[in-house]
């Protein structure tokens, strides 16, 4: 069996796309997305990136909305192990490659680590311009006026942008980018991150990247604050932490319980390691 499922030529093409993406931070590089043993819409893009960059020494962590134990995360992790034999971990600090769906881990990432995000919709302009040719022209001309007008409209009507996840960011002061459906809470983590962050959209066939130490700013007016979700008054029922991104669970009797969304962070807190 081939190491990491993909043939070498496929890996070559995807790696080239990744290199180009790193060279142009935030720019969507098209790539020939292969047939994968999971369906489109379930993380094939992230998976193709992971399988193209993985080597024998890598240690893999896979999470789905913060949880190592969710069905999708388990399936993907099992698949990667079955085609590579690599070590796996739930410890954010010990992983060399972290594939994630819609969340960035709570613990700070370090140099040498790589975060691979699964992308449902790579095109940040899709809600303001439907025509793909015009979208390309806008990106080429750094013409993001429509995104700004959308922000203006929401601010005029509601006081702030209505966008909660997939909040548009400007990468390296050049390209507007869709950061995937991560919450606003995670947006500040993108800025000047020590790790390499890669984005793979398998269905839409695009790869983009944020190299380490890149400037990433959310789209906002000079005189307005970028508001993020706060949990200062919410306590995790499992480990007792306050203020990290929480899952809100409704119990059968109608009461609400909060749990840390990042399960490995919660584990460490419980063990007293953090």
């Amino acid at each position: 069996m081939r190491y990491a499922f993909l043939d070498e030529n496929s890996k070559k093409e995807i790696r080239r796309a990744i290199l180009k993406a790193i060279a142009i931070p935030g720019y969507q590089v098209p790539f020939a997305s292969r047939e994968m043993p999971i369906a489109r819409g379930w993380g094939t893009g992230g998976l193709q990136i992971t399988l193209s960059i993985i080597n024998e020494g890598d240690c893999i962590k896979v999470i789905d909305q913060g949880c190592d134990g969710s069905l999708n995360a388990v399936n993907i992790r099992n698949f990667v192990v079955s085609v590579t034999g690599n070590k796996t971990t739930t410890d954010t600090k010990k992983a060399t490659i972290i594939q994630s769906r819609h969340r960035i881990p709570e613990e700070q990432l370090e140099e040498g680590q790589c975060l691979v995000l699964q992308v449902p919709y790579p095109e940040v302009l899709v809600n303001v311009e439907a025509d793909s040719y015009k979208q390309k022209l806008m990106h080429a001309n750094k013409d993001y006026a429509r995104l700004w007008v959308l922000l203006y409209e929401d601010t005029a009507r509601f006081g702030d942008s209505r966008i909660s996840n997939r909040y548009p960011v400007i990468v390296n002061n050049r390209y507007a980018m869709d950061p995937t459906p991560i919450p606003r809470y995670d947006i500040p983590k993108l800025n000047n991150n020590k790790a390499l962050i890669l984005f793979g959209a398998g269905r839409e066939k695009k790869i983009y990247a944020i190299p380490p130490y890149t400037e990433v700013e959310p789209l906002k007016f000079e005189d307005k604050e970028f508001k993020i979700e706060t949990f200062d008054d919410k306590k995790c029922a499992r480990c007792g932490t306050k203020g990290v991104f929480m899952d809100e669970v409704y119990n059968d009797d109608g009461s609400v319980t909060y749990y840390c969304n990042d399960t490995s962070y919660c584990d460490k807190k419980l063990k007293g390691e953090l």
Partner: protein, 278 residues
């Protein structure tokens, strides 16, 4: 000098070497007899100076609207050079705006010139509110401060006498005359040096037409931009312009002060036009 147009030409079709010399008012035709191309704009030269308000009048097919579109670059010219005040290279020489790259074109269309179309659908984005449309122009001129943007949006709405309370309404909720006024606000929001108007009031009710023309006249006096207005209505030209250009079959047949064109037309075609006023 605000705008200088040299040898501007637009031909639909093959464009053979006989096209330009075989069409025009003396032939009473814009169609080349050799290759059947349509010579819409035939080697036009125009100069607009500061403070001038130029009217271009002519009948359908004269090329007047196409001329404006070539300057604003909604259509690509086949030949010619256009210079505009404020668009120079590093050495201080004027650059041909027809060769501007998309970034430069964006700058040209925001800071230097704006266009107002006969149909507001061409000038407005109906997915944004009235305020949003005006904000777009302001944002494109570089402002990223919300309070400042909002203030200017309301200022320009007020200038065109649209009620401030309607700033967040969508354009399709306004009357035709109001939509036209929103278009005017939008065009002026980035303080352009040159305003191009393509039949801005054709099709509107007479009372609305009068109000809008008065408004344009007032704004031009206040803000001091140069204007080129295309119209087939001599009344509009008379009301607003001080210089008048008459076009026929893609060429200029006469150019002069507006009152001179109307009272002492020299060219046979101009005389025909003037005598056709009701």
């Amino acid at each position: 000098m605000i705008l200088e147009v040299k040898n501007l030409t637009k031909v639909y079709g093959e464009f053979c070497d006989k096209c330009l010399e075989s069409t025009g008012p003396e032939f009473e035709s814009s169609v080349c007899p050799y290759c059947s191309s349509v010579v819409a704009v035939n080697n036009i030269n125009i100069r607009v100076n500061k403070g001038e308000v130029v009217g271009i009048v002519g009948e359908s097919g004269s090329g007047k609207s196409t001329l404006l579109q070539l300057i604003y670059q909604d259509q690509k010219a086949d030949q010619g050079v256009v210079y505009i005040d404020g668009f120079k290279d590093d050495l201080g020489n004027y650059k041909n705006i027809l060769e501007a790259d998309p970034n430069e074109l964006s700058y040209l269309r925001t800071k230097l010139m704006s266009m107002i179309y006969q149909n507001p659908r061409l000038g407005l984005n109906y997915q944004f509110s009235a305020g949003g449309n005006i904000a777009e122009k302001i944002i494109m001129s570089g402002i990223r401060n919300y309070a400042e943007i909002r203030k200017r949006v309301l200022y320009f709405l007020e200038k065109t006498e649209i009620p401030k309370e309607r700033v967040d309404d969508y354009p399709d909720r306004f009357s035709g005359g109001q939509q036209q006024r929103i278009q005017i606000s939008k065009a002026l929001a980035s303080n352009p040096k040159l305003l191009l108007l393509d039949e801005p009031t054709t099709g509107l009710d007479l009372s609305v037409q009068a109000k809008i023309l008065d408004l344009i006249k007032k704004l031009q006096k206040e803000m001091g931009f140069a204007m080129i207005i295309v119209s087939h209505d001599l009344g509009v030209i008379k009301h607003l312009t001080n210089i008048c250009i008459v076009m026929k079959n893609g060429q200029i047949v006469e150019k002069g002060l507006t009152d001179q064109i109307l009272e002492d037309p020299q060219h046979p075609y101009t005389q025909l036009l003037v005598s056709s006023a009701l």
